[in-house]
Structure formats: C-alpha cells, structure tokens
C-alpha cells in the first residue's frame, strides 16, 4: 500500500507526470507559435533552479502562513490524486469519492487567494481577488458538468463511473455538452490562457505569487502542474473512461493517450485565444456556461432516470 501511495500511481508517478505534461504543453504551444520550444528536461531544470534560489518575503507577510499555503495546496491535490484511477490501477476508492475529489481540488484556489492576501503587495492582493472572482465564475458550471457522468451512471464513485463506460460508451459521446463545459471549467481552474486572468503578466505582474520566490514558488509551480495532471486524469476517467474503442491495447497505454489528447486540446486553446477580461468571464460563466450545465444535468436525469 505504501508503494502504491509513494511510487505508482502515487506521489512519484504524479510528480513525473506533472513535469512531463508541463513539457508537452510548453512544446505544443511553442510549435503553434512558430517556435521550437524547450527541451524535455526544462521543467526539471526550472524546478531545481527555483529550489536553489533565495526565499524572501515582504515585511508584513506572515512567514508561517506563506510557507504553509503551498504545502496545503500540494497536499490537497495529491490526496485528490489518490482516488483517481490510472487505467485500471487505483490506490483507493469508495462510494462518494468524486465529491471528496472535487472538494479537495477546490482547496488550491482558496489557498491561492490567501497567498495573495497575505503577501501585502498591491499586485498580490489584486491577483488574489481576481482569482476568487474567477473561481466563482467557473466552479459552478464545472461542478455541474462533472455531476453529469455521476447522474448518468448512478454512482458517485469514480471507479464505478469508469466501469459504467466500459459497459456502454464514452460519456463524452453521450454528454458532449458536459464534456465541453468540463474542459472550459478545467481551463479556468488551472488558470491557463485564455483564463489566466489572476496572473496576467501585463496587468498584475504575477498575481498572488508575485512576492513568492525560491522553495515556496517551486512548490506552487509544482502544485499547478500536479493540478493539471490530476484534473486531466479526472476528466479522462469521467468522460473518456475505459472502453473497447482502442481495441486490445493495454489500459495504461490508452489512458495515457487520452490524457495527452486532452492536454493537446488545452494547449491548442491556450495558443488560439486572447485573454478574457474578468467581467467577460463572469458574464460567460453565469449567462452561458451555468445555464448550459443545468440543461445538461436535466438531460442526464431524464436519460438516466
């Protein structure tokens, strides 16, 4: 059990995946932009470099809280990752673990806001409040979109949802609207372009993390990358679960291909659009995404029931 927790599909595996996904994302975006992109060891090098840098905070910022916040976020994301099966292997599973996972995955957003708040500087506070505003805009459609597969399969356990898809077809094909909404919600959750409003370089310098440096910043970046991995794995399990579409290739291979596929989708979205303004996001979230998510849930209830 300890081996599963620490190595595969636990901490070490997620760590390697986080670095790998970061590399694929940066390479893909670079290729879209006509550049070459970084070599495969770039995320590793960035992490090591940050660990070696000076770790300072402005006066007035509470050093204990500043040190605890990235650790809490990382712990939340890793714990969420425990319940998300990779292919057929899963560390832990129980009825209702989807709700626990969604709750744990929303902790980093709160921690991000707090990090900006305690950093005292103007850009940090602005970035933090924007992060909270963004959270309120995307989280509701995201949660509703992810509730769709649960309603359809009649279970709140991720493993059971995957099994349900094994007996029928991908939920992405049964609920395409929910799939698109989940992708958009994921882009908002991960604060990726076009929804990287809280860390818009030309407006708030680096948002909440402006005053962080050194080891703490390394942990924050690791949390962001791990969140990407865990979020993509969650989406793959809920919408593109195991099925016989790919024939008889091993489960872990098909899972990897699907994950990288969703990552490429996210990278494409990053390269193609300009950043939204926060009020445009709020309008989009509440006037378009939330009603559509509601429609999707109603359809799911009607079909499933």
């Amino acid at each position: 059990m300890l081996l599963k927790l620490l190595v595969f599909p636990g901490f070490l595996f997620l760590f390697v995946c986080a670095l790998f996904f970061d590399w694929v994302d940066r390479r893909m975006i670079a290729r879209f932009q006509g550049r070459v992109g970084p070599p495969w060891y770039q995320p590793v090098a960035d992490f090591i470099k940050l660990l070696a840098k000076e770790d300072i905070l402005p006066t007035g910022a509470n050093p204990l809280t500043a040190a605890a916040l990235p650790m809490i976020s990382l712990a939340a994301v890793l714990t969420a990752g425990l319940y998300i099966p990779f292919g057929t292997i899963s560390t832990a599973s129980f009825e209702g673990d989807l709700i626990v996972v969604l709750f744990l995955l929303s902790l980093p957003a709160l921690a991000y806001f707090l990090a900006g708040w305690i950093s005292v500087g103007v850009y940090s506070v602005l970035g933090g409040s924007r992060a909270l505003l963004q959270y309120f805009s995307y989280e509701v459609p995201f949660l509703m979109a992810l509730a769709g597969p649960a309603i359809l399969s009649g279970s709140w356990s991720i493993a059971h949802i995957v099994d349900y898809q094994g007996q029928t077809i991908w939920i992405a094909l049964m609920q395409p609207l929910g799939f698109v909404l989940a992708i958009i919600g994921l882009i908002g959750k991960l604060k990726r372009d076009p929804l990287d409003i809280p860390k818009a370089k030309s407006e708030v310098v680096a948002g909440s993390l402006t005053e962080f440096s050194g080891r703490k910043l390394a942990l924050w970046h690791l949390t962001m990358n791990m969140q990407t991995v865990v979020g993509i794995f969650l989406l793959v399990n809920l919408f593109l679960g195991q099925s016989s579409v790919f024939g008889t290739i091993p489960a872990f291979l098909s899972f990897s291909l699907k994950s990288v596929g969703i990552l490429l989708l996210l990278s494409t979205a990053s390269a193609l659009y300009a950043r939204l303004r926060i009020d445009q996001l709020a309008t989009l979230g509440w006037r378009v995404l939330a009603p559509l998510a509601l429609v999707q849930i109603l359809v799911a209830t009607w079909i499933g029931g």
Partner: protein, 360 residues
C-alpha cells in the same frame, strides 16, 4: 469599496520603457490616474549644441531606437534646407525606402507588444517573426538591424545594386503575405476584438484639442498625413493611400497601423522599381549659414518636428524636437478614466508609446 493605489512603472511588464503611472482603483475600476515622465531624459537637445552638425546626425538618431532613421532624416532635411543643399533624387528615394521599412518594423513591433498585453502571445510571436524579415532587409542595406546610420548631410551613404533590389522585392512579397494573414486575424477574431473594441475611445474633438497626430488621430477620423498633405520629396512623386477609421478605439488604432503597413509595403515596391540613377549624396559644407528652419516628417507615430537655428558656425545654436509621442501621451489621463484594470494595458500600449522619443 476601498481604494487602492496601483503603481504602473517605472518598471512593469507591460511597459517597454520606464514611465510612471499611479492609478487609483476602486475594485477593478480606475477612478484617477497620475502620470510622470522623464525617466529616459538624456538632455539630447542641450548636447546637440556642443556637437557639430555631422556629429549631431549621429546623436539625433539615438533619440529613439525604433524610429531612429526618421529622426536623423528630419534633422538632415532641416540642415540641408539651411545650407541650400540639393539632395540628389537617388539619395532621397533611398532615404524614403528606409523610412517606410522602419514604419513597417515599428508597427510590427507594436502589434506584438499590444497582443502580448492582451494575453495573445501567438500574435506576438508571429508579428515578431515577420519583423525579422524587415530587420534582415535593413541589415543587408545598412549593416544595422535597428540603428542604421544611413543618413549624412546631403544624402545617404549606402547604395543598391539591381540584384540586391530584386532580393528585397522577393522578401517584401513574403512579408506582404504574412501581414495580410495578421490583418485577417485582427479584423475577424472575436477574442482580440473583445479586448480592444470600445476601449480607450477618443473623439475627434478630443483629438483636435490635444493636437494628437499619427495613427491615433487617424483612427478617430482625422485625415492627416504629412507625407500626403505637405509632401517632402520624394513623397511628392509616390502614390499611396492614407488609411482612416472613425471608431476611435484601440481596435481602430490596430487596424490603421496594419493598413499602414500594407501601404508601406506598396510604397517600398514603388521606390525600388522607380529608383532614379545618379549619385546618392551631395557634398555638404562644414559651416551652415545663419538662419532658422522647421523641418517636419511623418514618423511611425505621427508628425515629428525639428526646429533648428544656426548662427553661422559648425555647431547648431538650438535644436528643438517635438516628437509625436508627447502629444499622444497627453490623451492618456482621459483614456484611463473609468476603465477596468484589465484595459489599462490595452490603453497604454494602444497609443504606441516611445518614451525615449518623448523624454529625449
């Protein structure tokens, strides 16, 4: 809601050059702004009085990095008028060629910066990649990518062989295709328009009141271009259109600059295909007869004015430079009134600031 004061600059990721803003925000809205210049002031006008006219050509090219050639052109034009010097047509055409190439270069650079400020990195990368074509042309012509040192009093120091001319024409064709593609994106892409439409709108009346010049004025409906209205040679023999839009917002300014790029490519082609033969410069005397002159030209950002007064020696008595950025900067407090924090970057970079020009 409580008010917070956000400093933009002097160092900030959105600014290319140091400029200080102090914005008072209430939530996400700007309610007050204060601006401060002078961070790049180098006292060039005073320095010019200690240098000869020849040394001043070198000095005034360094007023700005991006529009360096137009500054030295305007200065040389003024000194040539004072000396009664007639620049041979080939020299004038080559000067204009570099002026137009520099205009394209400046607008592409600006497009990249504007795109980056709205979070559209892809356009930034594409625009700066296409900028490399222009930089290669300028390097082959003059030896320098951004600072050319091509002007001398009396003409230019470079020349062009017919083979080189054909190479440049080919490169211009490639560039034109790329610019048309970027123009298509700016005109049609919804997320770009969502960030630039109806932002920083200036009415024609405001333009007239602040004496705004250049693409910012042309985007609000003021049909004024020095190359057409007071043509300095060789523009009196060249045909081109002046793009004008009437919306007055950041999107209109983007469109005006992109259409100007297309027109500049046409102008470069005209210059290259109708290049007259002959010498490229006339010999200038060391001393300039006493007098005063006002020399004007159309820089990428608008009308640049040089007032030169000579007292008969080989050093100017006074050179006064009025750069277009100074007039465009004055509109910023008006534009920053009551906008969202996210639009601040669009507005500030929309007027295409060249603080080095404004501060001298």
């Amino acid at each position: 809601m409580s008010k917070i004061t956000v400093p933009i600059g002097p160092q900030h990721p959105l600014l290319k050059e140091p400029l200080a803003f102090s914005l008072t925000l209430e939530g996400e809205h700007v309610i007050e702004s204060a601006m401060r210049l002078g961070y790049v002031h180098r006292g060039l006008e005073r320095l010019s009085q200690e240098r000869t006219y020849v040394q001043n050509v070198h000095l005034f090219e360094r007023v700005c990095g991006i529009c360096s050639h137009i500054h030295s052109t305007t200065f040389c034009q003024g000194v040539e008028a004072l000396s009664g010097l007639e620049v041979p047509p080939r020299g004038l055409y080559l000067r204009a060629l570099l002026c137009e190439l520099e205009r394209i270069h400046s607008h592409l650079l600006w497009l990249g910066v504007q795109a980056r400020n709205i979070g559209f990195d892809t356009i930034f990368m594409y625009a700066w990649r296409d900028r490399e074509i222009i930089l290669d042309i300028m390097e082959d012509l003059s030896g320098g990518r951004v600072s050319h040192a091509v002007n001398i009093i009396g003409g230019v120091r470079i020349d062009l062989t017919p083979e080189h001319r054909d190479v440049i024409l080919g490169q211009l064709d490639t560039l034109e295709t790329q610019i048309e593609a970027l123009l298509g994106v700016v005109e049609n892409e919804s997320s770009f328009q969502g960030r630039t439409r109806n932002i920083g709108t200036l009415s024609l009346e405001q333009i007239r009141r602040y004496c705004v010049v250049g693409p910012v004025a042309r985007a609000s409906g003021l049909d004024m271009d020095l190359r057409r209205d007071m043509p300095y040679p060789p523009y009196d023999q060249l045909k081109f259109r002046v793009p004008v839009r009437y919306e007055g917002d950041a999107w209109a300014r983007t469109l005006v600059r992109m259409l100007e790029m297309v027109e500049s490519v046409h102008l470069c082609r005209q210059i290259l295909t109708t290049l007259p033969d002959g010498p490229t410069s006339a010999r200038a005397k060391r001393r300039v007869p006493p007098g005063e002159v006002v020399s004007r030209a159309e820089a990428p950002r608008g009308e640049v004015i040089y007032y030169i007064r000579s007292d008969g020696s080989d050093k100017p008595a006074r050179v006064k430079v009025r750069t277009p950025t100074l007039t465009n900067l004055i509109t910023l407090p008006d534009q920053l009134q009551n906008i969202s924090m996210a639009d601040v970057s669009v507005v500030i970079s929309g007027v295409d600031l060249c603080i080095a020009c404004a501060d001298r």
